[in-house]
């Protein structure tokens, strides 16, 4: 029976694109290009809304729970931090206070929630090394995070090596059956000597993360005592639970009872002899009895059915993915740091996640459509997928004048002076 539970939450808000795509003026600066690419007023609206429904009440709740022996590992994307610093500084203050608690631990998260690991593993390694210090500074933590999570908990053989090169002691992995095979997720694993792998228990995590307010689910309504019982009856050393922080108040509204559920869970778990640990405490406690886990060459993720199909499963997603690649390549040619940074922002997994519904139906498509900004639907489904691609195309074109040595052909001059005819 598992005696320990480790709860990991991740906070993220995407930097949503501006649709319809805005044409970018020639010779535009990186700052003005960004204004054309991203819909900051919309990002502000969503951040303020989620701050009200989730970030403020959830942080208040976790603060109380930490005092009662609950332990929380918290990953925060820089995409969220940038927005919260601008538009909800009180939320940042609350989170800093939460992380200052001895029962909380900061987890390093891929800063932009991007697919950089697919395009440039070296740059990804550098980003992950950099973000540990950056998050420590921005969140006012005493120490750098030692455990890492990647975008959508992507993990593969090469990503593991990149995290090892970035200096992490631990990393998170979703415990999909096709990765774990006969193994239990309730142990610590390793591939090389480090990082150690904390395996998210998919079923027990999704019972709360996805199914909690689903009245069609056989487990509904889920009560704290029943869930604590499920945790206690699980085999293994330690159960790792992974949720979006937005689970509390946003994905599951207050009326669903998610807050009282969590408040009672601590007592119900304690009654059953369960203790809570942070991610690094799990490693500390169990690293000597960790097991070898062969990592897949194809990446696994906590999204969708656990493979990249959730992000690259339809032709439009594949087209946007290719455009992400072209955008990054073009930005790299400019050698301008700010433009390369914009190209990485454009790699946000959300931009693929939000169009998973294209040509699809079913539960995953519903999740994808739920995350698609409400305002975009006015354009119509076809225009959404076309305009997302136009954002990338406009960006790639706008970089023409930033590539050293580029000179535009003056077609008017050529026609007027017969230069084309002469050729």
């Amino acid at each position: 029976m598992a005696r320990y539970v480790s709860v990991y939450c991740v906070i993220h808000q995407p930097r949503r694109l501006k649709l319809p795509a805005q044409i970018i003026p020639r010779h535009a600066t990186a700052e003005d290009i960004a204004r054309c690419l991203f819909d900051e007023p919309m990002n502000r609206r969503y951040l303020e809304k989620v701050a009200e429904t989730c970030y403020r009440p959830a942080t208040k709740m976790f603060r109380k729970l930490l005092d009662r022996g609950f332990k929380l590992s918290l990953g925060i994307s820089l995409s969220f931090v940038e927005q919260a610093e601008r538009w909800a500084p009180d939320v940042m203050d609350d989170l800093k206070e939460l992380l200052a608690h001895e029962n909380a631990e900061l987890i390093a998260v891929e800063p932009y929630h991007s697919f950089l690991f697919y395009f440039d593993i070296g740059a990804f390694t550098r980003q992950m090394r950099w973000v540990a210090g950056e998050l420590k500074r921005r969140m006012g933590s005493a120490t750098k995070p030692v455990v890492a999570d990647t975008t959508e908990m992507f993990m593969s053989n090469d990503i593991y090596h990149a995290l090892q090169r970035a200096g992490y002691r631990g990393a998170l992995l979703d415990g999909r059956p096709w990765v774990m095979e006969w193994r239990s997720p309730a142990h610590v694993y390793h591939y090389g000597t480090r990082p150690y792998l904390l395996v998210r228990h998919t079923d027990l995590s999704d019972d709360v993360g996805y199914r909690f307010s689903n009245r069609g689910w056989s487990g509904w309504p889920l009560t704290a005592d029943r869930y604590a019982e499920w945790l206690a009856r699980s085999e293994g050393d330690c159960i790792t639970i992974g949720w979006d922080y937005e689970t509390f108040g946003e994905h599951h509204r207050t009326e669903s009872g998610i807050f009282p559920f969590m408040e009672n869970l601590v007592d119900e778990a304690t009654k059953r002899g369960i203790s809570f640990l942070t991610a690094s405490q799990v490693i500390e406690e169990f690293h000597e009895q960790s097991y070898h886990l062969p990592l897949p060459e194809h990446a696994c993720t906590w999204a969708g059915s656990g493979d990249v199909g959730f992000f690259l499963g339809n032709d439009v997603q594949q087209a946007v993915f290719r455009l992400m690649h072209h955008a990054y390549n073009k930005a790299s040619l400019t050698k301008e740091k700010d433009l390369i940074d914009l190209a990485v922002w454009l790699m946000q997994s959300d931009n693929l996640h939000l169009i998973q519904w294209h040509g699809r139906a079913g539960a995953e498509a519903e999740v994808s459509a739920y995350f698609t900004p409400r305002e975009w639907w006015q354009l119509g489904a076809g225009a959404i997928v076309a305009e997302i691609q136009n954002v990338y195309k406009n960006f790639i074109k706008a970089l023409d004048h930033h590539v050293p040595g580029f000179e535009e052909v003056d077609l008017y001059r050529q026609f007027a002076y017969g230069e084309i005819a002469a050729q």
Partner: protein
């Protein structure tokens, strides 16, 4: 007492928030729209209303400029800096920025107006503003203040109609247009706008017509029939009809000449080629030493007396066009498609004889205050002009009646009409009265009009 007293729109009860792509800056003036919104805003302010005009302004000027009652907001200046050639340079980039960021700005202004206890009247002009206006309506709904604000969208032209979601726009705002012709054009889209005509500045009718200068012009040109035409080189303006009528007059022995000012459009080449083909002599009037004044024009005309067409190659300022309007025997504003036809009205204001087309020119009545051509047949125009030539009494009558008509279209009078219409909508919506708002639509085309219009669409421009 016959019931509860209804609140009326007045400078004490409402404020105007105008939205337009064009505006008063030189950078923002591309055509009639900029002139319209500038004059409308100024006259409203002169009448005591608080007016806030948001437009694509000169990027070199301040974002916000406020006079006592008239406040200007120059929008999308960061985009405009990349497009120095004018308001429509980089149109799509500006449109995207305008549509996405203007709504929050207007909603903020609406909130401030409501805080002052007044009704915000948002009046948006032409297709560029349609998307933004719908978003404004949505945001006002979200804030719970939509019913307290009046939203109007005005069509000055049919340009860009293919990019408007009329069903949505008609749901979000009350639609206005400038003529009955436009109203009927818009029936095709399933909407029934309220007509409020365009206006002209009162200075055009209060100023004494430039009789002395007009006499000088006639003296320089000599005996015969003098015609003047100004406008873009667009087939809609019926330039071909004008030169063919001139050719026919000359063929019939009338000593006629045409002073013309077109644009840079390629259709101008076709027009001049047609004139030359008809044997008409053409002289270009160049801009010499930057002088656009009448003296320069008269000197040129005296030297080149006897030409059939004087083609002015430069922008003609208002003081000179007024002389040409008055000094010519007729001004050819004979467009085949005119949402309103401001030129005809300006001719009337200057005391000239306007020859108008028969589409949006609601103000024009044939042989009463103008000459009106019903077809694009040059013979019809020839006949009217030949009838005018030598008929001093008709000319005097048309000039006098034209001036009278123009006086009824000055902005001060038009705004009276506008306020009346807006009050009607405001009271129906419940924003102005103490009565509860009732669900109501003032914007649905008469039953069957859309289908009828679709059947007739192909006959719109067919002449006799």
């Amino acid at each position: 007492m016959y019931g509860p007293r209804q609140q009326k729109l007045s400078p004490q009860t409402c404020e105007f928030l105008l939205l337009c792509f064009e505006g008063p800056d030189e950078y923002s003036l591309a055509g009639g729209l900029g002139v319209r919104v500038t004059e409308l805003a100024r006259t409203l302010a002169d009448l005591g209303y608080d007016v806030k005009l948001t437009f694509i302004g000169d990027p070199q000027k301040p974002y916000h400029e406020g006079e006592e009652r008239l406040n200007l907001y120059r929008w999308a200046q960061w985009v405009s800096r990349y497009y120095p050639a004018g308001v429509y340079d980089g149109e799509e980039a500006k449109l995207a920025e305008f549509s996405s960021s203007v709504p929050a700005h207007i909603v903020k202004l609406c909130r401030e107006t409501l805080t002052r206890g007044k009704v915000p009247i948002v009046l948006a002009e032409d297709w560029h503003t349609a998307g933004a206006l719908c978003a404004i309506s949505d945001m006002l709904h979200l804030e719970g203040i939509r019913s307290k604000c009046l939203l109007f969208w005005n069509a000055n032209t049919t340009a860009g109609f293919h990019r408007i979601d009329f069903a949505r726009l008609n749901f979000c705002a009350t639609l206005l247009t400038v003529s009955r012709f436009m109203k009927h054009e818009m029936w095709k889209y399933g909407v029934n706008p309220i007509v409020v005509p365009n206006g002209i500045p009162s200075r055009l009718v209060t100023a004494e017509p430039p009789h002395k200068e007009a006499a000088e012009l006639r003296g320089a040109l000599g005996e015969g029939l003098t015609l003047f035409k100004i406008g873009r080189f667009s087939p809609d303006k019926r330039w071909m009809m004008a030169v063919e009528a001139l050719g026919e007059l000359v063929r019939r022995g009338v000593p006629a000449r045409l002073l013309m000012r077109g644009g840079m459009e390629p259709h101008g080449g076709e027009v001049l080629q047609r004139a030359a083909h008809m044997g008409l002599s053409i002289v270009d009037v160049p801009l010499e030493r930057g002088r656009r004044d009448l003296k320069n024009l008269l000197a040129f005309v005296r030297v080149h007396a006897g030409a059939h067409i004087y083609n002015l190659k430069y922008f003609v300022p208002e003081e000179v066009t007024r002389v040409l309007y008055l000094g010519a025997d007729a001004v050819l504003a004979n467009s085949g498609f005119e949402p309103f036809g401001l030129v005809g009205l300006e001719v009337m204001a200057a005391g000239g004889v306007a020859v108008t087309g028969a589409t949006g020119e609601d103000y024009a009545r044939n042989l009463e205050n103008a000459l009106v051509v019903e077809t694009e047949d040059p013979w019809e125009l020839t006949l009217l002009l030949q009838g005018l030539f030598g008929d001093e009494e008709l000319s005097r009558h048309l000039r006098a009646e034209g001036r009278k008509t123009a006086r009824t279209f000055v902005w001060e009078r038009v705004i009276g009409d506008l306020i009346h219409r807006l009050t009607y909508v405001g009271q129906k919506q419940g924003a102005l009265s103490h009565r509860a708002a009732r669900p109501h639509s003032v914007g649905t085309a008469p039953k069957g009009a859309k289908e009828k219009a679709a059947r007739q669409r192909s006959f719109r421009k067919v002449g006799v």
